[in-house]
């Protein structure tokens, strides 16, 4: 569980290196369309991982995570729309197509949005919390859908992706590597976070809030901080996705998007490091495959999800986990198992 962070780190880096080779493999196999697909998976992986921070580690069932994903996306889109000189956003903020500007801006907007929504919704809990986060996200959805200056329902094209030094994000492989780098950084950050004192408080809140309070810790400020960090992660993903798709629309904030992110987390393995990425992979691949087969792919996807959730407690990550002889923490497990299960579940 926490016995071999060095070995775990080495295995993670190996996995990252393998993932970085994908564009070459796609070229070799004559399947260039795989690369943009992989970018989407990687970017959804960031969004799902950020949701996992509050859902899997903090036990906060937020049903409005797409709000921050969309805020990040619209930050890139709106800054691009104001690129022409003499047309600053709100008459104040000049537009930009520099990723080094738009990404931090997206993180800021996502963080502020999460601070506002979190400050209000974290005063509730249980079903009320689920409903209120959903309601706030839907409010933002309708807000953007009605902003005709930015395309309203139809959304907004970003004709050229942002610039990042000498890199050309129009090239699918470059876009993929940038997204993969962002995912790696985000996972490394979140891995540290979960193990820190802050992470211990978060894990405590998930398991038993009464224990946290009795220990002398007021949960609210920690929940809010986690909510803001998770919102920033989602905004990062949204900003990257708009660069990859060159398009932003209110669909990014729709409640079904929040639902998809939740499905990725649960399907992949809640509370694990790589589970959400696995979940993103599975969902995008299933969606793509099923769309090719039938128009009503959702009808097929639903039962598949139910089966996975029912039969593999702990999600896809659990399938990769070698059951240790003794279930005690510290009992030896393989390398991959450690990456996928640093929280035991009791069944």
């Amino acid at each position: 569980m926490r016995e071999h962070p060095a070995r775990e780190r080495a295995a993670l880096l190996l996995l990252l290196a393998a993932a970085a080779l994908l564009p070459f493999l796609a070229t070799a196999l004559g399947s260039p369309a795989t690369v943009p697909l992989a970018s989407r998976i990687v970017i959804y992986g960031i969004a799902a991982a950020s949701l996992n921070l509050i859902l899997g580690h903090g036990g906060l069932v937020s049903f409005g995570h797409a709000a921050f994903y969309g805020l990040g996306g619209y930050t890139v889109g709106i800054l691009y729309a104001h690129l022409a000189p003499g047309d600053p956003f709100l008459g104040l903020i000049p537009g930009s197509n520099q990723l080094a500007v738009t990404l931090p801006a997206a993180l800021l907007v996502g963080g502020l949005g999460a601070a506002a929504i979190g400050a209000l919704s974290l005063r509730t809990s249980g079903v009320q919390f689920i409903m209120i986060t959903l309601a706030f996200a839907q409010m933002l959805y309708f807000l953007f859908a009605s902003l005709s200056a930015y395309g309203g329902d139809d959304g907004l094209s970003v004709r050229r992706p942002n610039l990042l030094g000498p890199l050309n994000l129009r090239d699918p492989a470059t876009m993929y590597w940038v997204a993969l780098g962002a995912l790696a950084l985000w996972l490394a950050f979140q891995r540290r976070l979960v193990r820190s004192r802050f992470g211990r408080v978060l894990e405590g809140i998930r398991q038993n809030e009464a224990r946290v309070v009795a220990s002398g810790i007021r949960p609210y400020p920690y929940k809010l901080a986690a909510f803001v960090i998770a919102g920033m992660g989602a905004a990062l993903a949204g900003a990257l996705m708009v660069n990859a798709m060159r398009f932003v629309s209110p669909d990014m904030l729709h409640w079904t998007k929040s639902g998809e992110l939740m499905v990725m987390v649960i399907l992949g393995g809640i509370g694990t490091l790589l589970g959400p990425v696995l979940g993103a992979l599975a969902l995008v691949v299933l969606e793509t495959g099923l769309t090719a087969l039938t128009e009503n792919w959702q009808v097929v996807l639903g039962p598949i999800l139910v089966v996975v959730v029912l039969f593999s407690q702990g999600g896809l990550a659990a399938l990769f986990r070698r059951r240790p002889a003794s279930d005690a923490p510290g009992a030896a497990g393989g390398r991959l198992p450690r990456l996928l299960s640093w929280r035991r579940r009791h069944g």
């Binding site: 004192r197 038993n208 220990s215 002398g216 009791h346």
Partner: protein
């Protein structure tokens, strides 16, 4: 009389039509072990919940070393020097005994907005946690197991260790012996005896043998009211107590 460490005055709590705490007055002196006894449903846990801050009283005052604490959040009361254990243990089930106690240690060391260092490898947390587990007598071999897999008695020990991690002046113990075997009960009695004099304690307990052995003073609660307070001998002789409570208990 010295200034009480804990002074409860006129405390009232209603659940609908039920008066669970009925103008309760109670004082715990510094270092005193004060037992709170009474039949099931008398309102002992409800009183503790109000003192610790998880339940808002309808009326009354609670002072800790002279300071009114009713407006304070339960977590803030811990930092003022008040720690508790629960009648039904409240622990982090997936985590180990070490983790559970370390959380309380990290709370005492200040805020937990620390995002970088691995908390489980932080000796500033691990060393005090180990020492506290030594103090309550949890065997070394049980400390790396998830708490959910431990026995009831072991969980009670861990809760006590976590409470002590707050370096409390006042300890509120809600039936710490309930459900313990004879040997575990004895061990808990000895641990509490060792704390007497240094830490004020309000002990809710049905084990009369332990209560009479440990308590400096005893208060008897019936229907949310305190009907008597005094030393063990005074309580044994008190006619109101005999009528309301002790007669039934000792008859069994």
């Amino acid at each position: 009389m010295a200034e009480p460490l804990l002074a409860v005055r006129g405390l009232v709590k209603r659940f609908g039509g039920l008066l669970a705490t009925d103008h309760l007055d109670l004082a715990v002196l510094p270092g005193e072990l004060h037992a709170l006894i009474g039949p099931n449903g008398a309102g002992k846990s409800t009183a503790i919940a109000q003192i610790t801050g998880t339940l808002r009283p309808d009326a009354g005052s609670i002072r800790l070393a002279g300071e009114e604490i009713v407006p304070l959040h339960a977590a803030a009361r811990v930092h003022r020097g008040m720690a508790r254990t629960f009648q039904i243990t409240q622990l982090l089930g997936d985590d180990t005994a070490r983790d559970n106690v370390a959380l309380a240690v990290q709370a005492r060391l200040g805020h937990s907005f620390r995002f970088w260092r691995d908390a489980r490898r932080d000796p500033a947390l691990a060393a005090p946690a180990e020492a506290l587990l030594d103090q309550v007598g949890l065997p070394e071999s049980r400390r790396a197991l998830p708490v959910a897999d431990l026995s009831h008695g072991e969980r009670k020990q861990i809760e006590l260790a976590a409470a002590l991690a707050a370096a409390p002046r006042l300890l509120l113990l809600d039936e710490p012996m309930a459900g313990l075997g004879a040997a575990e009960s004895l061990r808990m009695t000895e641990t509490l005896r060792g704390l007497k004099g240094r830490i004020g304690m309000l002990l809710v307990e049905h084990d009369m043998e332990a209560v009479f052995a440990l308590a400096d003073r005893i208060s008897v609660l019936v229907y949310g009211r305190c009907i008597a307070t005094g030393t063990a001998d005074e309580i044994r002789r008190d006619p109101a107590v005999i009528a309301a409570y002790l007669s039934d208990e000792e008859g069994v």
